[in-house]
Amino acid sequence: MTLDFYVKRDSWMHRLDPRVKLVLAVVLMVAAMLVRDFWLNLFLLVGMLLMLASAQIPANRFQWVFKLTVPVTIMIVILWPFFYHSGPCFFYVGPLPITLGGIIDGIAMSFRIISLCFACCSLLFATDQAKIVRACVKLGMPYKYGLTLAIALRYLPVFFGIITMVTEAQYARGLDIPKKNILKKLKSYMPILTAMLIAGLRNSDNMSNALETRAFGASVENRTYYSDFSMHSRDWIAIAIIAIGMAVFTYFFVILDVRLPNIFW
């Protein structure tokens, strides 16, 4: 279980500078959070899926995002109409009207959730984790923090592996993790946490020796980097497109507050 969703291809998106992709991801996330309109949300979601498709990311590599959001989506579509009412009413649940507008808005809300997930992940599908960390450092994050982040991501699957192994080791010692009793269940996680903590401490002790041996900290100013990238014309064009898109969107939908026509009723 890693956070490594990277699919290696040679598409326009893969060739973009990771910093540009980082900016794109942030812009898309903000858009997903701000946009309320049903059609705009649909447009945003479809746009992102088309973007991933054009980046040659196969559907089977991102369909888990849909699977993950299905329970939340269903819950929202069912509950939203209780809180938002607009347009023709279908029936009443007690004093609350269940309206068409409520349902449409609920669907729009669920699109937002899915869009938000995709906005976060789109970066990860088309960019190597190592390059993302490098991009953050180039954008100004101190190298130490970048290294810490990289190490954390590197050891994530190792620690998940430890959870599995320790759980099995505990089962093998006769531990039965109770399903009903919450208190007992929490107590039974103690060995797992202890083992992880100890593993982490031992690991870090060894790692610090390895870091020292490789001259870590020799010279902060003169440090060079193996992985390097620079902005090309395609990256500046992409930045320009994003900027124009943001400007247009802000102008029409925030400043002028243009509303898209309602075709539902």
Binding site: T2, R154, V158, A210, T213, R214, A218, S219, Y226
Partner: protein, 295 residues
């Protein structure tokens, strides 16, 4: 500090490692307690180009010795450090660990915790990055050392996906890229399966033959030690109890048993054969044993 480095350049001695009267104990756990001595007046010299194996039971001080050679003891660990260690003429107490890292590298026992980067290429380049090597030279060197350890074409692989043997080979590559004159391997094959052990030993063999390096290997596999080493040192309770060629060391069954170390089976056979026939053979390899036994 600069005086030591100047001396290093002028030093014409054949000895690349000199441990002089080393007495060391780690910091005590509690205030007022006296920590036990790991070493007491230890003396050791290693000549340039030698392949030295160090054997000894757990707790003999083998890893502490490694850490003392590259300066982690005492710079990082603290503790009570008396005596001097000269690495290529540099006194480890007077220079930084990064200075020593230019000359000496250590491959540690645990493959998982010494590969902390996200890709193999980054891992191999890490040491060079810290030393400010230009990017294009780094790219060249990475490919060169990966080829040496047999891990070409896996630049972007996450170490998580590698086997133990592959991980240790990458660890060796990441030290080789810094081009040290001394390579120390601290039980590099402990915990590896037979294929992994074979891979690592074949890299070590290659390094011995093709590179002009001084190599110190800490190992328990006496049969491999007999194959590779010019010299074997037995360490027990922080003291050197024996120091000689593999042939001399493995003939000394008493000494080895005292240290709780296993001899290669062929050496044991040699001893028993000598007992039975009054001869004085000292086999350390199977071929030598066969030569005598076939008659």
């Amino acid at each position: 500090m600069s005086t030591s480095i100047e001396n290093a350049n002028q030093d014409l001695s054949d000895n690349i490692i000199e441990v002089k009267n080393l007495t060391y104990s780690y910091p005590a756990y509690k205030e007022g307690e006296v920590a036990p001595k790991i070493f007491d007046n230890l003396n050791l010299t290693v000549k340039k180009g030698e392949f030295v194996s160090i054997m000894g039971p757990t707790g003999a001080g083998k890893t502490t010795l490694c850490l003392a050679l590259n300066g982690i003891v005492p710079h990082v660990c603290g503790g009570k450090f008396i005596g001097d260690i000269l690495i290529n003429g540099m006194n480890t107490k007077e220079v930084t660990i990064s200075e020593i890292a230019k000359v000496l590298g250590i491959v540690f026992q645990d493959p998982e915790s010494q590969l902390f980067c996200m890709t193999i290429a980054d891992e191999v380049a890490f040491g060079m990055e810290n030393q400010g090597v230009p990017t294009d030279i780094m790219h060249e060197k990475v490919q060169k050392v990966l080829k040496e350890v047999g891990m070409t074409g896996r630049d972007d692989t996450n170490p998580f996906h590698l086997s133990g043997g592959q991980k240790q080979r990458v660890a060796i590559a990441s030290i080789l890229s810094m081009e040290p004159s001394i390579l120390i391997l601290d039980e590099p094959t402990s915990g590896l399966d037979p294929i992994g052990k074979k891979e690592v030993f074949s890299v070590v063999d290659r390094l011995k033959r093709e590179r002009n390096m001084t190599i110190l290997m800490i190992e328990q596999e006496s049969e491999r030690i007999a194959e590779f080493s010019d010299r074997v040192i037995l360490l027990n309770n922080g003291h050197i109890v024996a120091d000689g060629t593999p042939r001399e060391i493995f003939a000394n069954e008493e000494g080895l048993r005292e240290c709780g170390i296993s001899t290669p089976q062929v050496s044991e056979i040699a001893l028993r054969y000598n007992e039975a026939n009054g001869t004085n053979h000292r086999f350390i390899t199977m071929d030598e044993a066969l030569d005598v036994l076939k008659k």
